[in-house]
Amino acid sequence: MADQHAVAAAATHGGGGGHATVKTYINVAIVLAIITAVEVASLYIPGIPGPVLVISLLAMSAVKFFLVVGFFMHLRYDHPIMRALFVGPLIIAIAIILAVMALFSAFVLLPRVVL
């Protein structure tokens, strides 16, 4: 995931590896602000079907998430060990959230009798 944004960023700012510059930081912050604005605005636009809204909101927050992790937290410039230490648990955490959600909506097998 982080790599895709890295590519996008590299195209925009013309800077590849090494340290992010102050200019990069400001550009990232601008992108973050724009995405947040779009997220909030999309709530007030009538007529977006539910699933589309949910998926696009999740996608936008994922982009924000990885922009902060990749640039502000330097993970895209850092040692692979750091990446493994963070991304591995993140994947496990997300998988567990999804599994718990599945388990909690699949429970009632027969109609409830009234006590």
């Binding site: 060990i81 591995g88 648990p89 496990i92 567990i96 599945a102 388990l103 909690f104 699949a106 429970f107």
Partner: protein, 621 residues
């Protein structure tokens, strides 16, 4: 050694007077001393948990027995489980992490020595807090698994559950801090040349364990926090009347609880993987496979938790999914067992006590693993879960596995830690009596479970066919107790007059045997350059394919030793551990105490953090 000892503490005081010695232990940040503290505390709690087990076995020796009542029995099985898991097996493993990991990776200490001390003192304060419940007659009685909603204030209005819930949070904090410390130590402090694949397998299994610790404990911490809020602040997480589902607890608990099983067994597997090569004088068979199996077990360990919950009615799809993932996890486990046997194959096996315990581990763990496969099948599990069959199963894994493995480690590394060899004859008595007692206690429990004896019952009717084998089981439990007396006698005898071990009593293969026993405070006068997983063996014998033993390095000079910088002692970890206990116990006494304890903890954290900030201007010891 005398100069080293003085150097170790960086000052002139101590090691002379009694209080000086006590103070030096209270403020130590030396990983070896902390390891000894962990080991000793864990062994004491192991004995306490064992006594709890013996009382339970006496109560169950015959039907309709009235030795202890229902309430007391419930307290006993709750505290037995909690003690054995959190206060015996985990800290005993932690003792080996502390003492052995830096030695095995060729480091002078762990990454954060003061944090290491902090982990220990937090552990001790949590353990004492939990056990202090006995003194107030409020021992926890909700089971080590503490299923909600039995643990909510409505059904457990007394402070019993609070002791358990808060004690576990303290212990969890300690485990996680230690986990971060060892993760960083293993990642970052390996000797030059020790790539990940050259790391000894014990270190690898410990590495996986640390991942499990830092990733599994957050789940139970959340579960306990939700319970704490339910009990103290009126939230509704486990209140079915408000629409809550008490199974939330079970899910969060077992998301922690299943990795926890591997936290308990992987270190023992690591020990066995060190002991077998040493005593068969061969490298570990298929070491990379054993390592990858450990990683697989750790990873899959997060995907099987609901197999503890097949009876809760999750529906066929979830049952099937967790059944398959559970069966998958059996594959790497089975592979490990065959690799251990492969290690022995073709070796020149020297039968010493550590090896006996490792062989006992393989023999008994195999059995526990195989009965585990039965529970992986939900229909079979429905009959077996919550019966003595499961009790037998996990004692074969955790006693026949973990405890045998840990005793193997104790006998194996004792000469390194104490400089003296434990007595072989007493060791064999210990082993055989324990083996017999263990099988006598737990083998019949398979049968008892299959003929329907449920767990956690303080009494049973006489007409169910359970009487005889329960009696046998009780006798077996006392045999285990007797075997431990042999161990204790062995330790006392060795302390008084044991044969001096020397650096390398077992003709070992890994770095710890290349340094004196017990090791100097800085471990390695010169950090080793590592070329192989069995580096020390190669130094001694070459690789067996024509390469000669390596030339001996030049002797270490006094100047080299003088240049070694070891961290100074610190009393902040001890104070911080105490302050935390003050804060947490306040929840049951007064909110003012929580606030005062919390502010104190924050202040001490600040002092702890600032102690080494700009050490040149600080108080240089």
């Amino acid at each position: 050694m005398a100069t080293q000892a003085a150097f170790m503490h960086g000052s002139k005081v101590e090691t002379e007077t009694f209080w000086g010695i006590v103070w030096s232990w209270l403020t130590t940040v030396d990983h070896k001393r902390i390891g000894i503290l962990y080991g000793t505390s864990a062994f004491i709690f192991f004995l306490i948990g064992g006594i709890e087990a013996l009382i339970m076995r006496l109560q169950l020796a015959r039907p309709d027995n009235t030795l202890v009542g229902a309430e007391r029995f419930n307290e006993l099985f709750t505290m037995h489980g909690t003690t054995m898991i959190f206060l015996a097996v985990m800290p005993l493993s932690a003792a080996f992490f502390n003492y052995m990991i830096p030695l095995l990776i060729g480091a002078r200490d762990v990454a954060f020595p003061r944090l290491n001390a902090l982990s220990y003192w937090i552990f001790l304060s949590g353990a004492l807090f939990l056990n202090s419940s006995w003194l107030f007659g409020l021992a926890p009685d909700g089971g080590w698994f503490g299923y909600a909603n039995l643990t909510t204030i409505q059904f457990s209005p007394k402070h019993t559950i609070d002791f358990w819930m808060l004690g576990l949070q303290i212990l969890g904090l300690s485990s996680m801090l230690a986990g971060f410390n060892f993760l960083v130590t293993i990642i970052n402090m390996r000797a030059p040349g020790m790539t990940l694949m050259r790391m000894p397998v014990f270190v690898w299994m410990s590495f996986v364990t640390q991942f499990l610790l830092v990733l599994a404990f957050p789940a139970i911490t959340v579960a306990l926090i939700l319970l704490m809020f339910d009990r103290f602040f009126g939230t509704l997480f486990y209140a079915p009347a408000a629409g809550a589902d008490p199974l939330l607890w079970q899910h969060l608990f077992w998301i922690f609880g299943h990795p926890e099983v591997y936290i308990l067994i992987l270190p023992a597997m690591g020990i066995v993987s060190e002991v077998l090569p040493t005593f068969s004088r061969k490298p570990l068979f298929g070491a990379p496979v054993v390592i990858y199996s450990g990683i697989m077990i750790g990873f899959f360990g997060f995907g099987v938790w609901s197999h503890h919950m097949f009876s809760v009615g999750m529906g066929p799809v979830a049952d099937a999914a967790f059944s398959i993932s559970t069966m998958l996890i059996a594959v790497p486990t089975g592979v490990k067992i065959l690799n251990w046997i492969g290690t022995l194959w073709g070796g020149s096996i020297r039968f010493k006590t550590p090896l006996y315990f490792s062989l006992g581990f393989i023999a008994m763990f195999t059995m526990g693993g195989l009965s585990g496969i039965m529970h992986a099948s939900p229909p079979v599990d429905l009959q077996q879960t919550d019966t003595y069959f499961v009790v037998a199963h996990f004692h074969y894994v955790l006693f026949g596995g973990s405890i045998f493995g840990l005793f193997s480690g104790i006998y194996y590394w004792w000469p390194k830690i104490n400089g003296k060899l434990l007595d072989e004859r007493l060791g064999l008595w210990h082993f055989w009596l324990m083996m017999l007692g263990f099988n006598m206690t737990f083998f019949p429990q398979h049968y008892l479970g299959l003929i329907g004896m449920p767990r956690r019952i303080y009494t049973y009717a006489p007409d169910l066919g359970w009487n005889f084998w329960n009696l046998v089981s009780t006798i077996g439990a006392f045999l285990i107790a007797v075997s431990l007396l042999f161990f204790i006698a062995n330790v006392i005898r060795t302390m008084r007059s044991g044969p001096v071990a020397g650096n390398d009593p077992w003709d070992g293969r890994t770095l710890e045997w290349s340094i004196p026993s017990p090791p100097p405070v800085y471990n390695f006068a010169r950090l080793p350059e590592v070329q192989d997983r069995d580096d020390f063996w190669l130094q001694k014998y070459g690789d067996g394919h024509g390469s000669a033993p390596r030339p001996r390095p030049a002797p270490v000079t006094a100047a080299e030793i003088a240049a070694i910088h070891m961290p100074p002692t610190s009393y902040w970890p001890l104070l911080l551990g105490l302050a935390l206990a003050v804060m947490v116990s306040g929840l049951m006494i007064s909110m003012y105490q929580v606030v005062v304890g919390g502010l104190l903890t924050l202040y001490l954290m600040y002092k702890f953090a600032m102690e080494l900030h700009r050490p040149s201007t600080g108080h240089g010891h």
